[in-house]
């Protein structure tokens, strides 16, 4: 039998906070995307842990859907990054202020 579920939940919380910290601190759009992936993985780990603690397969099904949505998000997000890079030759979020009023 593996460890008590709360160890996994604490680990997932720490992982989520590191990912959120990266989104707040970093300026490179690509690295910000990777930090979003970190946060999604933390959520997935939480889902699987709850699935085990409650003996319910629904948590694992939800992780399956999160994986699909993450893949779609990365595809569209990287497409946007490439389209922006064509115009601005930069992947820094601070340079993207065209819409600023």
């Amino acid at each position: 039998m593996s460890l008590n579920g709360y160890w996994y939940l604490i680990l997932a919380a720490v992982l989520f906070c590191i990912g959120a910290l990266g989104v707040l601190v970093r300026r490179n759009v690509l690295v910000m995307f990777m930090c979003i992936e970190l946060m999604l993985n933390a959520a997935n780990l939480t889902f699987v842990t709850f699935s085990r603690m409650l003996g319910d397969i629904g948590g694992q099904v939800l992780v399956f859907f999160v994986l699909v949505v993450a893949a779609a998000e990365v595809v569209v997000g990287l497409g946007i990054v490439v389209a922006i890079f064509r115009r601005r030759a930069s992947t820094t979020a601070d340079d993207l202020h065209i819409l600023k009023g």
């Binding site: 910290l21 997935n44 085990r52 694992q60 099904v61 399956f64 994986l67 569209v76 389209a83």
Partner: protein, 229 residues
């Protein structure tokens, strides 16, 4: 809950090693100056999470995690990094906004402490057990249980997922496509406003960024040549 069963020694070792790999990879993603190193650290984190999936009897998800995340998504990241040529060190010493990093650290530490305190005070997990299907029904494997649940209870969501993927593919193609060159006879009516808008935008770039402005100038010259010729 599961407090009565004692974990065996190998389980503790596996958890501790995976946790170290996961956290080291996560710190590497946030702290790497080079985006390629960040992507490789992300692979370490994803593998660690996959190991913890196996540890918690989610075998199918562990396989999907390695195949889709480490195999496809990270490769997509690396492809875009190298395609754009941004695979070099960037200066992460300077702080664009003063005081942003200490604030972000303090905010995240507060969030972490509050989440853990709240979860601990709420006994970590509450609710009914095995509502949408059990994870342990005798001799059935994890893949069988997950597949049965996806293709019966969650069939509608699964089919919407197919639509989402199609939309993502179409969106990526549309976004990544170069705009077709404007032919002269077609562009007769709308040439002037388009040219003005582009000139204005590129001039705004040139004031702040040297290389961006130069690229803009080159693009402008080529469009004017097209117009003249």
């Amino acid at each position: 809950m599961l407090a009565a069963t004692h974990p065996t020694f190998p389980d503790v070792i596996v958890f501790v090693l995976s946790a170290v790999v996961i956290l080291a990879g996560a710190v590497g993603v946030v702290a790497s100056a080079n985006p390629v190193h960040a992507a490789l650290s992300l692979v370490a984190t994803l593998f660690g999470v996959a190991v913890l999936f196996v540890e918690q009897d989610a075998n199918f998800l562990a396989a999907v995690q390695v195949i889709v995340y480490a195999g496809a998504i990270v490769v997509l990241f690396l492809f875009v990094i190298m395609f754009l040529g941004v695979d070099r060190r960037e200066n992460i010493e300077v702080e664009p906004l003063r005081g942003q990093r200490p604030l972000a650290f303090a905010l995240m530490a507060a969030v972490l402490g509050l989440v853990i305190a709240l979860a601990a005070s709420a006994h970590w997990v509450t609710g009914a057990h095995a509502v949408s299907g059990s994870t342990s029904t005798g001799h059935h494997t994890n893949v069988y249980l997950l597949g049965k649940s996806v293709f019966t209870t969650y069939l509608w969501a699964f089919e919407i997922t197919a639509g989402l993927l199609v939309i993502a593919v179409v969106g990526a193609v549309v976004l990544a496509r170069r705009p077709p060159p404007v032919r002269e006879d077609e562009a007769e009516g709308r040439r002037a406003p388009v040219g003005e808008a582009r000139d204005g935008g590129e001039r705004g770039d040139g004031g702040e960024r040297g290389d961006g402005g130069e690229r803009g100038e080159v693009a402008d010259v080529s469009t004017h040549e097209e117009v003249v010729g």
